[in-house]
Symmetry: C2
Subunit: 324 residues, 2 copies
């Protein structure tokens, strides 16, 4: 029956939508996993003062929201299409079963009537043959002058009896024939057509609903477009946070503190009192003034090339040696 | 160094885009697999004359196109972002290495100059001590009236010699000091700042490019929107193909041929010649006229309730019995 194939098709379409929703779900969960795996680690939190890192974090939030929209598609497909479709399939199957049972009932009653007709015809056939035989027997007896009148009367009576029985059987057959033809006409002109009309209605309902489900699915997909667009706008906005001057200035500030230009080495004239510096002092003061500021732990005004301060100076050379 | 961390960050972002592209690819291939698994099988091809089946087929074509758009996103991310980003990372690493080497070279030459200064200072210290000792020796000899003139002259000559050596060492020290301070000033005022300026430029280039890559990625995602929209329009159009009346009419036409309402059973009056039908004939002709057409293999004008034709009639009852 087409209705069954039709319901199979509806179920197939439902499975298609389910599979589609699953794909959306998997896509979303992959996006979420992606975002999770790129979240800054505790130890890298310091880097997130840079605009590029801030932008990346904002971008990931938007991708997370994007994932949410695909989850929403899956949820809406489930709630607005798959659920309704499943209910419709159940209804259609029940309604179809009911109509098929009605069809079967009608057919069985017609079949029973036809069988009654067949029995009546058989009885008529049998009665007709017996009547013919009785007529023949009477005619034979009537023509045989050697037979007794009683015997002839017996044959006439038999003929009359069988002929009556045949008429009665013919009558019964005629009645059954009329009843059968009436039922058959009713069956094929209204009973069966009504069942088919109902099945056709179910089919129309099913097909109309497939159409609606397809359209609803598209609307569900389209509904998230504005938000997806907003997420993409959000990513563009995140990109616009990025300020290369600001980020590099941050690095410069960070390293500047360690890279205070050192003062000149002072001239240590041993012929002067105590081995102190002379001309150097003036230079040193100039130097400090030019570099603008003194950091804690930085250089003192008086530096010598000997001892600890020498080691401090060379410290900054190492930056070029590491991880070359 | 920040530039290295910065390049790491750029690479991390590149990996993020790669992973994102992979997710798009997987999503697309799942959509394609979905469509493939729902393609009509050869044996079901007959069903695809129904508008609902036609619509489903058209829908699947659109989903296939949709998959193509996500593949396009992945391809464009690869070609326009990941490839360029990889090249940029390589450039930045090379350029950074070059700058670090230049920084190291500058630092090493300053370091060497400082060591020369240290050696000159040490020599001056030594010469000064020796000169002081020689002066002391001469002064002692000069004050000792018991010493010969020759001995005093020897001490004077030694003092003069050591004093000259000290002056010379002081001179050398002063020169090395001047050279060192000049080099140090140059190192901290132009050499090192130039290296940092270059590194900063690299950093700015890197950051500016992250910004551009993020924006390019959004544009790539957005570029497919019009086509995805067209695909969804295509699905709506496919839904509009669906015509429930047309589909059910198709079923009716299909089944009508088998459900020709049968003619009345004829009355077989055995008393008439040859057991043929009489009143039935007229009815039969009427019946056929009403049903509109005669199908090949359908009922003949003359039906009887006996034999083969009876079996044919009952055939159509089975439709209600099957797969109820």
């Amino acid at each position: 029956m087409h209705t069954l194939k039709g319901i199979d098709f509806l179920e197939k379409y439902g499975q298609f939508v389910k599979d589609r929703a699953t794909i959306e779900c998997e896509y979303a969960s992959k996006l979420r996993r992606l975002v999770k795996s790129y979240q800054p680690k505790k130890k890298d939190e310091d880097d997130y003062q840079f605009t590029s890192c801030k932008a990346f974090k904002a971008l990931m939030n938007e991708v997370n929201d994007l994932a949410g929209q695909h989850e929403l598609v899956a949820e809406d497909l489930q709630a607005n299409v798959i659920k309704e479709l499943t209910a419709l399939v159940k209804d259609l199957k029940e309604e179809r079963k009911k109509q098929l049972q009605e069809g079967l009932r009608l057919s069985q009653s017609l079949q029973a009537q036809i069988e009654a007709l067949q029995r009546a015809k058989k009885a008529y056939d049998k009665a007709y043959k017996e009547a013919e035989k009785a007529i023949e027997g009477f005619q034979k007896a009537d023509a045989d002058f050697n037979l007794s009148r009683a015997e002839v009367e017996k044959q006439r009576s038999n003929m009359s009896h069988k002929t009556q029985a045949c008429d009665s059987a013919k009558n019964e057959y005629a009645q059954q024939l009329q009843r059968t033809n009436e039922l058959q006409r009713q069956h094929f002109r209204s009973g069966l057509p009504e069942v088919f009309r109902q099945l056709q209605e179910l089919d129309e309902k099913r097909i109309k609903n497939i159409k609606n489900f397809i359209k609803a699915s598209v609307h569900i997909e389209r509904n998230v477009f504005p938000i997806i667009n907003k997420c993409l706008d959000g990513i563009l906005k995140a990109a616009d946070i990025i300020n290369e001057k600001e980020d590099t200035m941050l690095v410069i500030e960070k390293y500047k503190s360690g890279f205070q230009p050192p003062e000149d080495f002072p001239f240590e004239d041993l012929s002067k009192s105590g081995g102190g510096s002379d001309s150097g002092s003036a230079n040193n003061i100039n130097n400090i003034a030019m570099s603008g500021k003194l950091k804690d732990g930085g250089y003192t005004v008086k530096g010598t090339i000997t001892g600890k301060s020498m080691k401090k100076r060379t410290g900054l050379f190492h930056i070029f040696g590491s991880r070359g």
